[in-house]
Symmetry: C2
Subunit: 225 residues, 2 copies
């Protein structure tokens, strides 16, 4: 913590006076009291970004799904499990936010009717009915006077098409895209930033360094608004 | 590690010369390259038992699903994701094992046909077809000359019925039962041991202490064989 405080002191305070709300990690959508649908997001990229935003002087609220990571120095963490709980926690923090960064790998679907008690094994094939979850990032971006919204796109192919498509569909000023095979769960990653001006590849680096590059890009766009 | 080595030195070596294979943690059953079905097992009870068995002098192989826990001192860990991979890792270790302890919360079902690429969100309701997973514990217990098999039953109600039922159905000499609301993800728990002689409640304790009580019970039954 002392070390982080010292590093923080020497970083340019590009986000001083700004409030940043981020989501990170997976969500866990209950099937019954013990089982659920989730994804293999480690939360590392979101936590690295929260840390970089705090270093840049921002007030940071990190709404986090279930991960095994400590709270970054200078960051307020709100821990949630499901997409619905994440949406509520974001709504509670977003009113006076200048920036929203949706890094969480929010489950697109949840079981339509979670069972109250543990489902007993029958040995037969079965299926789970799923219902779509709200799109938290799209909802924040569609608010009147929205904060500066940054999306993340983790794809297994056709990154440019999907990531730039996401940016246009949700009317986001900035999307960070990566291929899941390049970074999921790892300590480093390579990403491409998409904005109004085009695509900006960021070379492979540790997630903390990537986060600093992304925050610098974001701070430049925010300052130019 | 030094501390654990010292503690280990003073523990009674009730399992000296025995090989113990355990499973621990959840399994993760892929829906597509990023999503999957899992459960909220932390792996803490299984890891505590692996540690207690090593302290008791056993050679210990721990087949572990995805958890955020370090390898216990003196334990060989094999890391897996799915139930099918867990079954293979158990098969590779079980031939000369004296004891098998199935603590893992193995997913009862897996998606019938995992998608090769990330499933795109359609906004429509959908469903996932599931197919039953193998019952690793039942398979080990059904081997010719099986090792001494210990099952775990985590239930949300009717513990005696389900746990003793599991013991009889799978013909296990010993089952450890607990209510999920009592211990899941926590550092302590309360359990009931079921064996041929009846039910033996073990009062609430830290998982490391519970593990020692369970291993003592197991070593007594094993010695009386």
């Amino acid at each position: 913590v002392l070390c982080e405080a010292v590093i923080s002191h020497f970083e340019a305070k590009r986000l001083a006076g700004r409030k940043v709300v981020l989501t990170a990690g997976p969500t866990f959508e209950a099937i019954d009291p013990v089982r659920g649908i989730t994804n293999s997001s480690s939360g590392k990229m979101g936590y690295a970004l929260a840390r970089a935003c705090a270093h840049a002087g921002a007030e940071v609220v990190l709404v986090s799904g279930p991960v095994a990571l400590p709270v970054p120095y200078g960051v307020t963490r709100v821990s949630v499990q499901s997409a619905l709980a994440m949406r509520e926690a974001v709504a509670a923090a977003i009113d006076d936010a200048d920036v929203f960064i949706g890094v969480a790998a929010v489950a697109d679907y949840r079981p339509a009717t979670p069972a109250e008690h543990k489902i007993k094994k029958s040995g037969e094939a079965m299926s789970i009915a799923l219902t779509p979850n709200p799109d938290i990032l799209a909802e924040v971006a569609a608010r009147p006077n929205p904060p500066f919204c940054v999306g993340f796109a983790a794809e297994s192919r056709d990154l440019d098409t999907y990531a730039e498509g996401k940016r246009r569909n949700k009317r986001l000023p900035m999307v960070v895209g990566n291929l899941v095979q390049d970074g999921l769960g790892q300590d480093d990653n390579q990403v491409v930033i998409y904005d109004e001006a085009g695509r900006h590849p960021v070379p492979r680096a540790a997630k903390d360094n990537l986060a600093r590059s992304i925050v610098k890009h974001l701070a430049d766009l925010l300052a130019a608004r």
